[in-house]
């Protein structure tokens, strides 16, 4: 097969499993590692018949020439990748895409990550730290078993607030509770970056709005190409419509229409559910032991 038909793909050099559903892949792509900036994303294709899925870059290492992705196995493609992406396997990755986050010289910054959003908020926290800011991290997980990267965050944050739904570690409650505590303690927070599920980002936007803290969220709507060509990722920002892939993915949280985003994310829900059911069925038939 010629290169014109399919890229050779990037080698997976590290894999870590944080939990049953969350895993980390570090892929080799020296050029991308050099080009990547906080806030950008890549599009991954698992195989020739695969779909193109956007994933936010969780970390990049220019010396090693690698890009880190943290993935949650929620649908067919991400489960399949969980099964197939071992160290030494290859993955088709294109990027970095999107406008890099504008890391200001703000003095005091709140970096909020919820669930899978914890990973992509890391380069932002590190970037702000490098810019000399006082960085307060707020990370939310469902329970203590799902916690990851708290050590990495501790290294770049001046303060770290862990929140879990059941209180098994850190404070009990959602990230909005963490934000409330942080704002109470530091009324002079200049900026907030929040990445996570849309409903969490909506909560963060509402938590900072009364305090008039400039808040940025990273949106991850349905995309095909990621280069501004399909328009599937259009989002409502105030009175205007923007394409998250080329106009974002970062937007002013106080202007984003989150309800619209959440509805649009369900466009292919039925097809996705069918694909996953079919995939699970296939796995059971192929490997009855493992599926139990």
């Amino acid at each position: 097969m010629t290169n014109a038909m399919s890229g050779a793909g990037c080698e997976v050099v590290t894999r870590k499993d944080f939990s049953d559903v969350t895993y980390l892949l570090e892929v080799r792509h020296p050029m991308m590692a050099k080009a990547a900036r906080p806030g950008q994303f890549v599009i991954v294709m698992a195989h020739e018949h695969g779909e193109r899925i956007p994933l936010t870059i969780a970390d990049f290492d220019r010396d090693k020439g690698t890009i880190t992705l943290v993935i949650q196995a929620v649908g067919k493609t991400t489960r399949e990748m969980q099964r197939d992406c071992k160290v030494g396997s290859h993955l088709s990755v294109v990027g970095p895409m999107g406008v890099p986050s504008h890391l200001t010289k703000a003095k005091k910054v709140l970096c909020v990550g919820g669930g899978l959003g914890v990973a992509p908020v890391f380069p932002q926290a590190r970037g702000y730290k490098e810019n000399g800011a006082y960085v307060i991290g707020v990370l939310g997980f469902r329970n203590r078993d799902l916690v990851f990267w708290d050590d990495k965050f501790r290294a770049v944050c001046d303060e770290l607030i862990l929140c879990t739904d059941d209180g098994s570690i850190g404070i009990k409650g959602m990230v909005t509770e963490g934000i409330r505590l942080a704002i109470e303690k530091h009324p002079d927070i200049d900026e907030c970056v929040a990445i996570g599920p849309p409903v969490m980002m909506k909560g963060c936007a509402e938590a900072t709005r009364p305090h008039k803290i400039r808040t940025v969220v990273s949106l991850n709507p349905v995309m095909v190409d990621g280069t501004g060509m399909c328009g599937g990722c259009r989002v409502k920002i105030g009175d205007t419509v923007k394409f998250a892939c080329v106009d974002g993915p970062d937007f002013d949280a106080h202007k984003v229409d989150f309800d619209d985003l959440m509805f649009r994310l369900q466009r292919y829900r039925e097809a996705e559910r069918d694909a996953l059911a079919r995939y699970n069925e296939n796995c059971r038939m192929r490997n009855p032991e493992a599926a139990r």
């Binding site: 010629t2 014109a4 890229g7 895409m97 280069t227 106009d247």
Partner: protein, 504 residues
């Protein structure tokens, strides 16, 4: 050459040889090619219809000036390889252009035969030669002397391909970058298989690879590296940008964010490139549309409608605010769409998309239009008729009302853009950065495949002049009579190549 008796209009076959087509009702359910092309006897018969007139208006009508009568002559002589050689001297992609060029407004539109009869079916003949070449595995790899120059091409669509081919033939080391995982640009993601099978595109790309051109997919130029880096760090002596105008427009009417509203680009990309039509064998999903309303009447709109039919829609509407006479699509495409059962609603403009209470599309509210005075484009301006609102029941709405400039290159480089965001170039397609050229939709706005290819070739000519490579075409060009163009008897374009021979 043996003196032949000059053909006259009375001597040639009077009727245009029909091409074999799939039955409209059968083809509306499959993705096989609609037009099955000519058989050898059809091609022979049609080739006889060319008068071999001295004027050759068709050559001037072709954006890349294919020597049309010459290749038709070769067909009548049964020298099919010769016909292929004639075409590929100017156009490397005959199987593509024979299918997707708007011949009726180019070569065939000015054909001498067309003044009294139906014009010669030049496009069908070109396609026949191109298909034969693919079948027989012909490719013309000229002897290429390496020039030592490296050329980078951004975008593997028709403009990029044409520029790449010309530069490779001039001995340059050419690399083509493509953001998608497959090369071909709009030929792959946009034009559906029933008009241009992806296998044909792949075959033509294979021929470019035979010229030594490298295709690097999954490479987003601008973000992975910038145009400036290509020139400054990566060692490219010249760069061509052909990234197209892929940013789809919407109308800004209520209801556009409902589920079931999408751009034609999204529909076509999902279906053609990502093969969502073969879901679940391919992973990309597609919303099923039972009643589909497509807004717009250009070629993309026709493609979107015909794709929707093939994906199983029961009813497909075309909503266009002007009348059929102003529709920008090729006449043949409108005809094909109508045959397959598309319902055209001329002089209709949507004002809102209504939902079913669950964020899905229920219907499109439209208003009837009348045509008023001609506007800046020369077309009559549509004016809404007061009180004429009505609803069309639909569960999917597809926008095919045009595209804007792709913003990525503009965001990431210091290239000068025009007021609409397209790359600003001069006559020679040079941009504001030395050694960087641009052409195709990213300069002109949305146009046709062959126009993009013409721009790619034009940019290649300028690029050769910039690099100091001799343009081989020049040798065969007529010398201008204007002595101002020549200095010391040497044409200006040749100055860099003049050698003074000293007596021994």
């Amino acid at each position: 050459m043996a003196q032949k008796k000059k053909k006259t209009i009375r001597m040639i076959p009077q009727a245009r040889t029909p091409a074999h087509e799939q039955d409209p009702l059968v083809r509306a359910k499959n993705f096989e090619e609609v037009n099955c092309g000519y058989l050898v006897e059809d091609a022979q018969l049609e080739a006889e219809r060319c008068l071999m007139c001295a004027d050759e208006p068709c050559v001037r009508g072709c954006p890349v000036n294919i020597a049309i009568p010459d290749f038709i002559q070769k067909i009548t002589e049964k020298d099919y390889r010769g016909a292929y050689d004639v075409i590929t001297a100017t156009n490397l992609l005959p199987a593509v252009c024979g299918r997707v060029c708007p011949q009726e407004s180019q070569c065939e539109g000015v054909c001498t035969v067309g003044e009294s009869l139906e014009s010669v079916a030049i496009g069908r003949l070109e396609r026949w030669v191109g298909d034969l070449a693919i079948k027989e595995g012909w490719s013309n790899v000229p002897y290429i002397e390496p020039s030592g120059f490296r050329v980078g091409i951004v975008g593997s669509g028709p403009a990029g391909m044409a520029c790449a081919a010309d530069m490779a033939k001039a001995g340059c080391d050419v690399t083509v970058y493509e953001a998608f995982h497959q090369a071909g640009g709009v030929l792959k993601y946009g034009i559906p298989d029933f008009r241009l099978p992806n296998a044909v595109v792949d075959a033509e790309i294979g021929k470019l690879e035979a010229l030594g051109i490298r295709f690097e997919c999954n490479t987003l130029v601008g973000r992975l590296f910038t145009i400036e880096q290509m020139i400054d760090e990566m060692g490219f002596h010249a760069v061509f940008i052909g990234t197209g105008a892929g940013y789809p427009s919407f109308m800004g009417i209520p209801g556009e964010s409902l589920n079931g509203v999408l751009s034609a680009n999204e529909l076509l990309t999902r279906c053609n490139l990502m093969r969502a039509r073969d879901f679940p064998a391919f992973d990309t999903p597609m919303q099923p549309g039972r009643r589909v309303a497509v807004i717009g009447a250009g070629n993309t709109a026709m493609d979107a409608m015909r794709v929707s039919l093939r994906l199983g829609a029961e009813k497909v509407y075309c909503l266009y605010r002007r009348s059929r006479a102003e529709a920008p699509a090729r006449a043949e495409e409108i005809h094909h769409a109508a045959e397959e059962g598309v319902e055209f609603q001329w002089l209709v403009s949507p004002v809102a998309i209504l939902d079913d209470g669950k964020r899905n599309v229920r219907s499109v509210r439209c208003v009837r239009m009348t045509l008023g005075e001609p506007d800046a484009s020369g077309r009559r301006r549509p004016v809404p008729e007061p009180g004429s609102e009505f609803e069309i029941e639909a569960d999917m709405v597809v926008y095919a009302i045009g595209t804007n400039a792709n913003p990525i290159i503009g965001q990431t480089s210091k290239l000068k853009l025009d007021s609409r965001g397209y790359i600003a170039t001069d006559e020679s397609l040079s941009t504001s950065m030395p050694g960087v050229f641009a052409g195709g939709d990213i300069v002109t706005g949305a146009a046709t495949v062959i126009e993009a290819m013409g721009a790619g070739r034009r940019a290649a000519r300028s690029m050769k002049a910039f690099l100091g490579l001799r343009d081989t075409d020049f040798v065969y060009q007529q010398r201008p009579a204007d002595p101002g163009e020549a200095l010391f008897g040497i044409h200006r374009a040749e100055h860099g190549f003049a050698r003074v021979r000293l007596p021994r």
